[in-house]
Amino acid sequence: MARITAGLAVSHIPAVGAAWDLGKTQEPYWKPVFEGFEWSKRWMAANTPDVIVLVYNDHANAFSLELIPTFALGMAERFEPCDEGWGPRPVPAVHGHPQLAAHLAESLILDEFDLTLANELQVDHGLTVPLTLLFGGPAAWPCRVIPLAVSVVQYPPPTGLRCSKLGAAIRRAVEAYDEDLTVQVWGTGGMSHQLQGPRAGLINTPFDTAFLDRLSTDPEALARTPHIEYLREAGSEGIELVMWHVMRGALSAEAREVRRFYHVPASNTALGHIIFEEPDGGSEGRDTQEGSPR
């Protein structure tokens, strides 16, 4: 049977993708950002799953205002990076897992999640920047990725609690899939940032720190945070953090934090990152070389 082995969350700042693409990772401004992911990249190399369910949001690229799905699941074999106005990012196409996606679609709809099924989908920086941060620049991404796009541009996004329940339903569906696959769930976006208006540039490190702490130790209560608190404390775009609850909701009560990284400044956004491992799942097939992550 398939199983969820780990979950992680990471901000998906477009400037971080641009810095990678333009070879600026050693510049003083960006060096600490990319160094902060060195441990995580080793961990990923040692714990590459078969499939990632990657929770992200589109930023007026694949979706206009014509049709705004709350949750859109990527069903296709292949997802090309979007042209966001400066040409597509020079990263590999993303290969999906249509059969697992079909199973997730059927399970989740019967489990009362009102999905939109996306058979054609281009993916923007919200999905590709996390892949760059965790995998670097391979010729092909080393595993399959099922995109799960969440509506966060137009208010209201789904509640944190709904996102957490969706994560739990993804776990049930994965555990009912009768092929031996390892699956990670990633939450992306956030942390505190506001990109609009006279309050643009807001960063709230105490809020972000508390969010990371509670995501680790008190996720059920944290998922009940009302939208107004994200808007007021973490900035109008900080509400992307609801997507992290999908990831956390997909993990068991036994999952434990193995890595955390937080950095300001990164463009207009506080960059946050956290990794959780399942006690059983993550340990199988782990690289035990010296210097690699436990």
Partner: protein
Amino acid sequence: MADARPPRTKPYADIPGTIVFDAEQARKGYHLNQFCMSLMQAPNRERFKADERAYLDEWPLTEDQKQAVLERDLNRCMQLGGNIYFLAKIGATDGLSFQYMAASMTGMTQEDYAAMMAAGGRSPEGNRFTGERG
């Protein structure tokens, strides 16, 4: 008919310097944002750059919306229903960085804005509720 109704009280109306892009804003700004989306295509960018007014006139925008675009007044665009992710396509067409656009909305120079971000960003202190700084 429907528009005679007084606006609902929004719990997020008291956040300073922030316009939440809710269904009401989305309705007001639908064509403004779809105009911005059209700038994703290179031929449209060329036509817009060649004659901004003429290109804008092809869209069912209000005169206020057109003026706000022509003046690159992003705050006004957002009051009139624009969303920042859509509006950013105008800046991309102009060849401007997002940081330039962000600074322009705060009334700061790009240098001051960049310095603020490098120093840890804008503090939430005094920026949570309208008028809390007296």
